[in-house]
Structure formats: structure tokens, C-alpha cells
Symmetry: C3
Subunit: 364 residues, 3 copies
Amino acid sequence: MSYKALQINAPKPWPHNAWYQAAWMNEVSDTPLARTFLNEKVVLFRDKDGNAHALEDRCCHRATPLSLGDVVDSGIQCGYHGLIFDGDGKCVEIPGQDSIPPQAQVRSYPIVEQQEIIWIWMGDPAKADESQIIDFPFLDDHENHPHGHALMEIDCNYMLLVDNLMDLTHIPYIHKKTIGGGDQKGQVNAAMDVSKTDNGVHYIRWMENIMPPPTYAKGAGWGPEVKVDRWQEFEYVAPATVLQWTGALEHGRNAKENRNQDGGWNTHIWHTATPETETSCFYFWASTNSYKPADTEETKKLHEAISFTFHEDVSFLEQQQACLSADPDQVLVDIKHDVARKPARQALERMIRTDAEEMAVAAE
Amino acid sequence: MSYKALQINAPKPWPHNAWYQAAWMNEVSDTPLARTFLNEKVVLFRDKDGNAHALEDRCCHRATPLSLGDVVDSGIQCGYHGLIFDGDGKCVEIPGQDSIPPQAQVRSYPIVEQQEIIWIWMGDPAKADESQIIDFPFLDDHENHPHGHALMEIDCNYMLLVDNLMDLTHIPYIHKKTIGGGDQKGQVNAAMDVSKTDNGVHYIRWMENIMPPPTYAKGAGWGPEVKVDRWQEFEYVAPATVLQWTGALEHGRNAKENRNQDGGWNTHIWHTATPETETSCFYFWASTNSYKPADTEETKKLHEAISFTFHEDVSFLEQQQACLSADPDQVLVDIKHDVARKPARQALERMIRTDAEEMAVAAE
Amino acid sequence: MSYKALQINAPKPWPHNAWYQAAWMNEVSDTPLARTFLNEKVVLFRDKDGNAHALEDRCCHRATPLSLGDVVDSGIQCGYHGLIFDGDGKCVEIPGQDSIPPQAQVRSYPIVEQQEIIWIWMGDPAKADESQIIDFPFLDDHENHPHGHALMEIDCNYMLLVDNLMDLTHIPYIHKKTIGGGDQKGQVNAAMDVSKTDNGVHYIRWMENIMPPPTYAKGAGWGPEVKVDRWQEFEYVAPATVLQWTGALEHGRNAKENRNQDGGWNTHIWHTATPETETSCFYFWASTNSYKPADTEETKKLHEAISFTFHEDVSFLEQQQACLSADPDQVLVDIKHDVARKPARQALERMIRTDAEEMAVAAE
């Protein structure tokens, strides 16, 4: 499979054998929640014992969405003729009928709840290996890393969002009125230290002995005389997640040797973009206040500021998608700042290739 | 043609050589009415003598909808350049032009007005046999069977509506807050007496010596001590009509031998679903007050109550269609309660097969 | 290529090697303007020196619309990662990158500004011959021919608008409540003097010694006793422009020999319909007050009256397009009054044929 084949409009622009974020844990309750992932309609619900489940959102009898039904003691009940399916997708009751044929079932998707996230496995359940789930312990540590979380539905291919995060030179342009204000060239020219990982790419940018951005200074309580060592660290984990750690410490505190010091300013940001269709995705994100964790007002302000910035990206991503959809085959030109974006796409390409081979073997 | 081929997304999911309800008689006047049936744009209008006509809604000159024009003495006049077509679709005037070429015509559809209904024949006019039109005399008997009528435009294949009426076990689920309240299992388990007819299927359900539903008791004026023999009788007539007779008489009055007694509670309901496209239809219905025909307030209340109930079905039907459209080839699982629905589909299948053969012969 | 192949849904219903109106001059400024012509996304902008340019509206780097960016000193800058393109589409800056690869460019379209119009050439730039641009000097003569101009976006193929102007017998029908009121047959039967031109068709209709329309009489200040010689002159210039001169002089002033006399009533109207897609267009028009040029109030009133009339056409054109799109292959019937419309279509057909041959040669 060539790089070309990875383009947006390729037949399968995602791996199936992979964990994706389906929801935040607190979104799923005993009121069914309908969502589409990878073009498949899924219903998420929590059973009477509080366990979350994900089933095909289509009754096997007459194709009615199960999300129109109700959670009952033994599972989820179709709202049309009353068939009940348990959390494994097995039909456990057909009203008025004594025996239940074995084909009366709907597809069930493996689910894992961990660190505020509900993960869903969209491929072969036999391959669903929980050890592959990304660990992001900050989401479980509300004392030291309090945070808000969010979901944005964006009309673009999920990888356009990953691309965006893999090239921060967009900041002085898209965000020129907010976080990217000031010296455009200086921001563009910050050196990138990029390295490939087994399943993605990692990079860090250091800016030493510089004036902190106003938001940092205000959050940290720095006066105008303070200079800082600032870092932006990103890791893409295929297929759809980017882990970010951004911050600064006063110059002289040796941040480069040890960033885990009290004070200063820093946030851990969770980004993941679950494909809905080829041209739309669910963007889940959360940002921690890891510098003044006891200050709940600061936690709220940080969330709002980051939310505002992310909304600036949305119109670009959606119009970029519209251009790509209008003319998907036109060749694009890579530039120097694609240095992290390109290996990220290549990591995804490898994953899709492996996925296609596994599915081909499974089909034999 | 297999049963599979009858599925929603098959190329021709309807017979052309058939009568369909185009409108209620009082909908059609000398103001042109545009409607699409079986994917064909039709204009309905009443000429100066009061006769209804149905023409292709597209001028043969420059393809402008005739429904944008006006009814004039000699027919309907295109609003763009003034061509006039008579009720047979023949062009009878081209402004400023002396002779009218024979090809200047639009398609005309056979029309029959009967029992408040305007019927349209969408196939070969030579085969339009009025004797095939369904007789439902209640709509003409305002003294004994007063009623209101309605039209609902639903975004689903017309047969999803017929399916709905062929399996009443949906009542305790979709309508659990209205007519299906109370004992779900009891309603589901009522015995069905199903028989095939020449062009459809007939079934009746009897519930003897039971408490009447609250709506029945209220309408009939029964006290809490009254028990009744209750019936639900349905007949599907291919391609698109369901005739319903539902009611109850006090237990002991031998309803099962003779339902045509004064008093009690009963309604005759007309249902027909004319295809607009493969995934949308016009649902025409009317329900008679056949138990207190002199009580006009009761007639109105009954109509409103039934209308409310039918609206509960709509979101199910439309979301069911969305599921089918998203994945039309996935196999469905029949259950016991499809006992009337399946022969109804088979009757339609026979009709479509015959229709396809007739059209093939006509094309030779 | 047959006449049939020219129908709306033919693969290429327009010539590429042709000038089209892209905008009115005063629409284009240093704020980028996004428009689609012939299915191609274009950004129009005026550089810091005031020169207008038209580029492909898609950055060669990541396919973001350039219209989301800003005009800067050296050209237009992409709002995503800051690449700058000059007016010829050449990338002149990639932030943070020393060398610019030659493939870093976007398509540039030849532009000419003339007589208030920005013309764009959508085909092979080497063939862009400015001498082919239509001369309509009235738009440059504000003293003798003051006027307003307008743009209407219509959901129809551009040729449906040309068709409309080539057959004025629509006036007593579509405009029966405005300019077409009164004697329908009289208006329909006015004699047409039609002649083919090298690249279109010309016609003139004379109505001699008649009562002027109320709008004319009011504008000219004529009392009820005045009779006039009235003319309607139209020229279609392929692919998309119609030049109109309509007016009247008092009977006895020998209008037929010399229409360029002071007084009376007359307007020159510019019409051009630039294709956006196969089923939508930009309709640019302007109408001069050539009878009372010093009366600015009259100029404004004339513009408003004509605008009202043109809006009457829009719903017909859009519904005509809907009918054609629903059934593009159905044969239409020509009538006597297509006497100018048919050669107009033939002129376009010749132009498209020539265009296809040129493109085939270019591709060899």
C-alpha cells in the first residue's frame, strides 16, 4: 500500500483492530446513547449493574435502532416489538415466543472503562488486547491534575486533526489572535526533536530563556521580569490519539533535566479523534491544571481558554476536508514542517496494512 | 425473484400496474397540486367542470412544472410560455403557433374518484381496471360512519408502514404510554387467526371477556363492571392498503357471531401508503366513529386520539428506514409475530412479479 | 457531438477556453473572495498594488482554502501554515524553510478588469485572448448611462437563464402581474427578426404605434395620448452573455431609422450567467437609465423595478432545473418561439465542440 493509498478517500482509512474512544465514562448511562464509529451504528448503555456495553444499534428482527428502546433488567429492549438483548448482544427474550433462534443476536463490541474513558474495539473481538490501551494516568488523578473534558464533533477525517497537532507551525497563523500572537517567525523556527516510536511518533520543542506567553505568565503569577524555559511535547499513538505535555519553568530551574518540579506552568492534554465516517470524527480532549491543582477557578479558566483555541481550528479543518473531498486525487506538496506529520501518517499506514492482512487471514 | 429481492432497496419495490391513493378528493381543486408518486412528478387539478385530472408535472416544451401554472378553460396552462394541456395531456394551445405537433403532449394518468378518495393508476393505462379499486363504503356513509381523514408524509418505504400494521405486538411497546399501556404480555399473546387472500392477507384477533381499554370504555360509556368481547380485524390488500375494523361489545352479546350490533364501541380505519420514493411515502388514513355516529364531538376526539398514536409510530419508521438504508443487505430474523407480515410481503412479491412480466411483454 | 449531447447533464456543458464574468470590480478587495466557477474553487483578491488576481482556492501544501488566509505584501498567505503565493500562483515563502520546491504552486487564472467587470479565463492560459472580451461601453459611461449592478445566485444551469432571455413570450406569463400585464396574445405575436452571428444570435422585435407600457410612460413622462414605436433588441454571445437594448420613442420620430435620439425611454441591460456547477450559476446584470441620465432617483427606481421582475423568473428556473435533473434524458418539444433559443444553443454547441478539440490537441 503506497502513501497515496492512505489519502482521505481510500476505501478503508482506518484500522478495525484497534481501540478507539467511544465516550467519556460519564456520558453513558441507562439511557441509550447512539453513536456511529467507523461507519457502524453503535448503541452504548449501562446495564442495571452499572456495566457499560456497546451493541450494534439495529435490532436483528426489523432493523429498528435499539437506541430507541429502554434498558431493562436483562439488557436493552427494542422499542418496536420488545426483543431484549443482553450485554453480549444475545437475544434473551422474544415476547410471546418460547424459543429463541441462535441467529437472533446483534453484534457486541468489546468495551473497557479506564481513566474516565470508555474504549471500544471495532475489529475482531478475539484480538481485543486490553494491554494495548493507552495509559494516561493524569485523568485519574484529580488531586494533582484536575481537569475538564470535552467532545467536539468535527466534519473532517480524523487524521486531519492529528495532522494539525503534528505541525505546531499552524499556531502563529490559525491562532494569531490568541495563543499564536507575537513573533511568528520565532514560533515557526523552534527546533523540533522528532523520533519514531513503535506505533507513532514523538517530538519535543524547547524554547529556552524566553519571555513566557501571557497566558502562562498570568497562570503562574510571573511578573514581566521572569524568563522561562518552555517545552511542547507531543506523542502520536496510532491510530487516533495524541498525548501532549506543554509547560514552562523559570529559567535557571533546569527544566530540561527535570520538568516534574512544583510551580511553573504546565498542562497535560489528552487528544483523540475517533472516526465517525470518512469525513467526520468525534474529537475528545481534556486538559489538566497541573500547576495550581488546588485552584478550581484556574482549572475552569484553563479549560475555557483551550476550548476557545480549539474552536479556531475547526473551520480550517472542515474547509480543508471540503477541498479534499472536492478533488481527492490532487497531489499535495510536503514541506519541512511536516517532519512529524509524515512519520505519523506512516505509522498509521503500517497499522492499516497489518490490519488488512489480519482481516484477510481471518477471511480465509 | 427471491424474497430477498423484495427488500427495500431492490430496483423496483412496487408494482406499476396498480391503483394508488393520490389524494383525498377535497385536496384537489383548480389550484394545481404537485405530488411525486413512484418517483414520478405528477400534477393534480380539477378542471372548470370540476373533473379531476393527473398529468405529468413537466411541460413537454421546456420541462417546467405545470403545477406552477394555472387552470384555464381548456385545461392547465404552463406558467412559463403559456402552452395549454387538456385533461388527457394533449397540448391544445401553443400561444402564437397555428399548428400543434402530435408529440406535444404530457403523460396522463387514469384517475378515479370514489368514496372520498382520488385513485391514480401509475402503470399501463390500457390495464387500468376500475373493478380492482378497493371498496370501503364507510367513507361514503357519513350518517352511520362519520369520520375525519388525514395525510402524513413519512420518510420510510411504504411497506414499513404495512409491516407495522401487520404486527400489532408493537402496540404495548411503541404505544406503551397511550393505547398499549397495561399488561404487555397479555397484548402480545392474543391469538391470531391469519388467512391468505387472493391479493393479501387477513387476520383477526379476539380477546373475550376482558376489561375494555380505557378509551373504549369512555367512548362507549361503560362503567368499571363491564367486561367485553374485543376484536382487531385487519386485511392487507396489495400493494399498499390495510383495512381495519376494531371494536368491542359487552360480553354476552355474542359479538363473535354478530359484530354488527348497535352500541358498544368500534371503528373502521382506512390505511393506505402510497410510495413517493423508495424511502418516503404518503400515508392516508381515516377512522370512523361507528358507535356514536350522531356525536360529532366524539368523532373529533376519536380522530385526534388516533392521530396522536400514529405519530408515535413515525419516528420508529423513519429511523428503521435510516438503518435499512445504511446497510440494506444485512439479513433480518423473522419471529413468531411475523405470521401476518410475511404473507403480506409475499402477496406484494407476487404482484411485483406479475407486474414485471406484464411490463416485459409490453416492451416486446 | 449531437444537439442531445448539449443537454444539461452532458459531461461538460461549457467551454473552458472562454472568458466568464468572475465578479464586479468593486466586489474584489484585499479581503479574499471565494467563488466556484465551472466546478473549480477560485479565490479572488486584490494585491497591495490594487491588482486583482484569481488563484486556485486550495493551498498546495495541505489543501486548505487560501480564501481563509490574508493578503500580505508579497501575495496571499495561507491561514493554516503561512505559505505565501504571489499573483501568478507561485509560492514565494514557506515559513522556516529556505528553499521552495518548484512544484509548490497553485493554479493561476488569467484576469482582465474592464468596464466594471472582472473577467476570468478558465481554460488554457496560452489561449486567453483579451480581444475576445465583450465590449459593453455603457458600463463605463456613468454620465450618459448611469446604472446599478447586481448579482443573483441561481440554482439552475446557466443556459436556462440564456434560454429565458431568448424567448420573450414568457413575459406575459411569468411576468403577468408586472411587465407582462395586459394583452397576452399581442405580446406573444410580436414579429421577431432573428439572425445568426459568428458566436451567437441576434434578434429584434418592433412594436410600432402602440400604447407604451405603464413603466415606460411613467419614466418618460408621457401622457395617455402618446403612442410609441417600441423595440426589444437582444444579442446572445456564447458562452454566457446576453446584451439587451429595450426602449421606445414617440411615434413619428422615426425610431426605426435612428434610436439614438434624446428623450423617450430606453435601457441597455447587461446579462451574463457564469456557471458555478452544472446546476447553479452566478447571474450578473446591470441596467442603464439612458433616458433621464441626470435623474439619480429614476436610475434607482429602474434598477429596483427590473430586480423585482428578474426575481419572478428565479423560481421558474430553479424548478425547471429540478425537473430536468430528475429526468435528464426525456425529449423536449421545440415550438415556434424557440426561433432564437435554438440557434443560441447551436452557437454554444459549436463553441464546446471547438473547445473539446483544442483540449484534445493540447492533451496529445
